[in-house]
């Protein structure tokens, strides 16, 4: 009879929401698939590992530091971020991964009946948080694999509180150039918040790529999301942040949980940004080399792919992506299936060191030859 009780106390939008089940630990997966090693090419992690300064912070962390709470709102880190981006401390809010700040932003601006606008084929968390908060997610189809500014503007109404633009987009790697972004922000005309998720911005070095940190000087309704999980390779520590105009951040702060970011994460993030130039260059070089291996490989097989920005690329495979995943796992290679991103029969591959990419190529070739038999 407990189900009857749950029926009564659980709101409909929670009952209808599908919980997310993260993948099992690597050790479990390795034993299930019977492999000795596992190349993780599924989460867009930076396989080079964090910058050298981070190693020193982690090595220096001792058990004596554990009894004390972390700083509740990442004071030192925000100080450093403010200096790096020529802003003030009160323009930053740090979270347990940028996923946490997504939630804080939606809570700050939306009530039931409001809507948010984003794309149908992008990072899923905007849509998920909206839905389990009882907020409508208007999902605008991508156009030529990129966000469609006109269609997104057409969807705006007086209940629209936030527009999420993933720039560059995960998983397609497309981005709006500066002109497109500025035209879009002008058309939005301060009617709602525009979040520009720049999780992968450090991977982009094209001169026409817009920097939301600068745009927010002209458009105070812009919020940018950044993360330490991707370029800076701190994914295990869970730390990311948002930056916006002081008035906007002051509102989001009210719904944001304090003390959610632990001490090693705060210290490692601070170390990561203090001396990151060479590290970023080395990572970009690795990604570029990986592309130079993979693109000709897929060209040779006549398999279509998208190789744009970010440390990943997407491939349109000639079989079910979820079957390919299982077959590649038996070779110790883990890719991301794209059905969940509404790209059935595509996979996304993280771009990492050449020897691992070569292992991927060999496994892919072998799997394909079994399927074609």
């Amino acid at each position: 009879m407990s189900t009857l009780m749950l029926d009564r106390i659980v709101p409909r939008h929670i009952r209808n929401f599908e919980p997310y089940y993260p993948s099992k630990p690597d050790s479990v997966l390795m034993s299930l698939f019977g492999v000795e090693r596992l190349h993780r090419l599924n989460n867009n992690e930076n396989a080079l590992g964090p910058p050298p300064a981070v190693h020193r912070v982690i090595d220096g962390f001792s058990a004596e530091m554990v009894p004390v709470y972390p700083n509740g709102d990442c004071f030192d880190l925000r100080d450093l971020l403010a200096a790096k981006f020529h802003k003030t401390q009160d323009q930053f809010l740090v979270g347990n991964g940028s996923c946490e700040v997504i939630s804080s932003v939606i809570k700050a601006f939306c009530v039931k009946g409001d809507n948010i606008i984003t794309a149908d084929k992008t990072f899923a968390v905007y849509e998920w948080v909206a839905e389990f908060s009882g907020v409508e997610a208007r999902l605008i189809p991508l156009k030529d694999f990129g966000f469609d500014p006109e269609a997104m503007l057409d969807a705006v109404d007086d209940k629209t509180k936030i527009i999420f633009v993933c720039n560059p987009n995960n998983p397609t790697g497309t981005y709006w150039d500066r002109d497109t972004m500025i035209r879009f922000l002008e058309a939005v005309d301060q009617r709602c918040i525009v979040v520009i998720d720049e999780a992968y911005c450090e991977y982009v070095d094209n001169p026409d790529y817009p920097d939301a940190m600068l745009l927010m000087e002209t458009f105070p309704n812009v919020i940018t999301f950044r993360t330490f999980s991707k370029m800076y390779a701190l994914a295990a520590l869970r730390i990311g942040y948002l930056c916006s105009s002081p008035d906007v951040v002051d509102m989001v702060r009210r719904t944001h949980i304090v003390y959610s970011v632990n001490t090693p994460a705060q210290q490692a993030a601070a170390a990561a940004i203090t001396d990151d130039r060479d590290f970023i260059l080395a990572t970009r070089k690795m990604v570029k080399e990986a592309r130079q291996l993979l693109c000709p490989f897929f060209d040779g097989l006549g398999i279509p792919y998208l190789s744009n920005q970010g440390n990943y690329m997407m491939v349109h495979v000639p079989l079910s992506d979820t079957l390919l995943y299982r077959m590649l796992m038996k070779h110790g290679v883990m890719v991301r299936t794209m059905t969940g991103f509404r790209f059935p029969n595509w996979i996304r591959i993280s771009l990492v060191q050449a020897p691992v990419m070569t292992d991927f190529i060999n496994a892919f070739r072998e799997v394909l030859s079994t399927v074609q038999k």
């Binding site: 997966l29 299982r326 969940g340």
Partner: protein
Amino acid sequence: MTETGSRLSLDLKADICWIPLVQGVVETGAPVMGLDPGKTLRLALAAEEFILHLSRTAPGTRLILTLSREASSVSALFQFESSPEDLWAMNLTAASEISQDLDQGMAHMGLLLASRVADRFSIALNGRTLSVTLFQDIIYPEIEKAEVPSAPLRGILSAEACSDPADISHACALTMTLYPEPLYPKSFRTPGNIIDRISQGRFHAALVKDEAGTTAGMICWQIPSRRTVEFYGPYLFSKGDGIAQLLIDHLINQVARTEAITLYSRAAGPDLPLGNFEPLAALAYRQSNGQKETRTLWFRHLREDMGCPVWAHPVLVPFLKETYDRLFLIRTIREYKDQGGSRPARSLLGTRLGADKQEAFIRPMLDGTDIRENIQRHIQLLVNEKYVNLFFTMDLSIGWQAALGKDLTETGFEPAYVLPYAGESDKVIFHYVHPHA
């Protein structure tokens, strides 16, 4: 008593003094929920027999009766704390036993009647709480086949979810014209059923239309269990490139971000775009004329397979290993036989009968030491009544069901296919092999 539009509920003690009240609730409630007079009477009779049985066998037990409208049926749910031992009388085969031993049988006559007058029933045991649901299906009018339009399609084609009654009816009628019967669900003949289930979110349909609004194709699906989606189609009503792929893409995109892992079809026709799916099994389906027809079942996963453990009787292990290897599914097979602990004496099997005797589906509901004989009794009865295809579904996440592997193979069933994630883990569907076929 509480009432919320499509649900009415009574909380009482099992006592014959409440029989008129229960009758009254069903007789007034069911028609309001859309059930016709004949079926209302049957449901009232079933409810009456049920409470009579409880008042005799467990007087004073607290009983919650919930009458509700669910998509295309009205159901009476009985929830009470009890040992499930008496429920054996709901076996399809119980009648002969009861008539043989009238003294002992009388006490169970009510349950037998209750289960016979219901269109379907289901039973769930949760801790000590037993839930028995009796269903009466609503009757819908049948439609005629429709003429296929010959005008060419115009402009860009697009796929969209559809719940419009006229569109659905028309698409069902076109499907009946263009496709042979096994390729579409019987409910297409009575689209009112589909429309009701769509409006309650129990069934889904999408159409591809051209710019002039002409319907070019349809795909339908439903969610039989938490992690599976079964689809029907795609059905194509016009010639046109990519209609099938548009429908499949629409379907996949609709279910891709849900809890579902397995998307499958037991009746996909020639228009399924194959690159999207994997063959799950080839089923030797028998026709009434004794001939066999091979039906291919197709599936795909909607996300990464993380693997799971399954229970299996040792006799089933070779079949499972072969299947899992062929499908690249990751499973930890744990062997499980009857462990010899105390078991109830009498088992219960639920049977769903196809209207045209083409198929019967048996599902184990309660374990008991007589389960092997019970399976045999069911086979005998169904074979005598000339049912052509007998299926038995086993949930590999439930130890006592998995332990039935030996009993099933020794009574003439063969494992036909594995349906990944149809239960907590996988289910195996067995097919009965007629000794004379």
